[in-house]
Amino acid sequence: MTTTAVPAEPVPMRVSYRDRLRRLVSPMLFMTPAGVLTVAFFFLPVIILFGISLTNLSSSTGFKNYEWVGFENYVKIVQNPLTKLNLIATIKYVSLTLVFFNIGMALVVALLSTHISRRAGFVYRALWLLPRLTPSVVYIMMWKFIGADSPYGIMNQHVLEPLGLSTANWVAARPWLFVILTNGFIGASFGMIIFTSAIESIPRDYMIAAQVDGCNAWQRIRHVILPMMRWPLLFVVTYQTLSLLTSFEQIYLLTDGAGGTEVWALWAYHRALNNYWGNFQWGFGAALAMVLVAIGIVASVVYMRFFQFNALVQEPKIEAM
């Protein structure tokens, strides 16, 4: 192949309209269902969300008597005393879960399970996948019972009482601990799987060389494995940050925002779609959600630049239709 210039006089070709039509229709056949749903449930909602965030639409105004209020809802967010609290809760939730579980625990499990027999390592990793597969309501119920009051709770009954320590209803007493544990045990599996395949793809020669050079297990991890995991680590951090930022299902089921665990996404959900008073503030909730959407869009664009999207996309090697 060469990179010489395009010949000056291309031979003109007969254009067949049937061929052109086929080239248009064939991809559409495949793309239409996905395209329609994407427009209906992603693009349209983003626009609607932005639109609603500029109104005072709520269940008290109904769908007829709302007014356009410009950016008033956003001003309200800035002025709301809860903003600071919920922002802190969100940062706390995202950073602690990320550090201790989605990265920390994921890395520990990946490292440990790749240093034991293949079969056993596989079994442990599969067990760590279970929390993600378990229906959230059942999963949260398990945790509620682990922390439940004496004499029912497992922690109280089997750990604290035998040691003579005081008992409590731990979910209520330590809401943050349980929020992070429940989300962490689900979130760890994602990083764990990515890290495991990264570790397993490190050439064996490196490991053998390190052993020959007299590295112990810790030195091998520190100097051979971790430096080669920069990209997977970065990938999991960026991806999971966004993911944590917008997840609230488990918190909703566990504490419903009690004890200072009202994270931003849950706040928006409460205000707009689910609260005790039955007053759905769609306008305000939409503005809250829009903040997350904006963060999501910016983060995704940065993330694509960073991970070289174009390298992932090959040109199809068939041009016939």
Binding site: V109, L133, F185, F248, Y303, E319
Partner: protein, 295 residues
């Protein structure tokens, strides 16, 4: 081996076991609790608080509460609709994005990747309005048999929303699987007389069966355990899905009969455990393509 080396090689096992205990304990509790009148921790006890009190009483909901079967069928319906929808639509779009050059291909791919990391749950507010709009359509909105329709407060509507929100993951995975099919084989099929649609159906789909199986199982489990979206878009909790039904058991009836709740929970877990035991490899492989994490 010296005892020291033995200990050294046992350390990873010990550590892993300790770290994994909460998962064990949770499952252990749910199983024990289901067959007990009540439990103190993991110990089944009778009404005096002594060991014993084993019973099948907790499972009586299966024949006493007619709602459970309605809810189970609804959940099954939702899971099947979700699985069929996600697999077919993702396989169609994933094929085109992987294999056909058409204007807008790169844009759509980039879009898929962005949506993939997109805070879709925050769109629930406006999706609520989209569903209400669909409700107003004749027949399609709320006039269909079995699934109710595709609008607000119908199983079909919830399935439609969940299909859409699952598409970025599904399409990306399917594209990845199609990327690995030999180009020569597809060329051969085109020369042998296939159209692109026929190639997709006769040659490509059979070649990515493991991928389809993985996505199907994962999607089915997702649908089976779905809580937030059915809970938000179906108003009557007792007629929505198992997860919402279970949640309503915990909220209203005070004091909560945990053993009974556990039984319903285990009932919901059975298909998940079944799939888990027989298809772990598939499920572990689904994320290695580089994909979406829930939390």
């Amino acid at each position: 081996m010296t005892w020291k080396q033995r200990l050294g090689s046992a350390i990873p096992y010990i550590l892993l076991t300790i770290l994994t205990i909460p998962v064990f304990v949770g499952y252990l509790w749910i199983i024990i609790s289901t067959f007990s009148g009540r439990t103190y921790g993991l110990v089944p006890v009778d009404s005096q608080g002594n060991f014993g009190g084993l019973t099948l009483e907790n499972w009586s909901f299966l024949w006493e509460d007619p709602n459970i079967w309605f809810v189970t069928l609804n959940t099954l319906l939702l899971s099947v609709l979700l699985t069929v929808g996600v697999v077919i639509i993702s396989a169609l779009a994933g094929y085109a994005l992987s294999r056909i050059s058409f204007p807008g291909r790169k844009t759509f791919l980039a879009g898929t990747l962005i949506l993939h990391a997109f805070p879709s749950v925050t769109l629930l507010i406006s999706i609520y309005f989209v569903l209400r709009w669909i409700s107003n359509l004749p027949v399609l909105g709320k006039g269909l048999p079995i699934i109710g329709g595709f609008g607000y407060n119908t199983v079909g509507g919830v399935a439609l929303v969940m299909v859409s929100l699952s598409l970025p993951l599904g399409i990306w995975l399917m594209k990845g699987f199609f990327d690995n099919v030999s180009w020569d084989m597809e060329r051969a099929a085109l020369i042998d007389g296939c159209s692109r649609l026929r190639v997709w159906w006769e040659i490509m789909l059979p070649s990515i069966k493991p991928g389809i199986a993985a996505l199907s199982i994962f999607t089915f489990i997702t649908g089976w355990g779905a809580f937030l979206i059915p809970y938000t878009f179906i108003t009557d909790q007792e007629k929505s899905t198992l997860a919402a039904y279970l949640n309503s058991l915990m909220g209203e009836t005070a004091p909560v009969n945990y053993s009974r709740v556990a039984a319903v929970g285990l009932f919901q877990l059975i298909p998940v455990l079944f799939f888990f035991i027989f298809t772990q490899e598939y499920l572990l492989s689904i994320f290695s393509g580089g994909s979406k994490g829930g939390t």
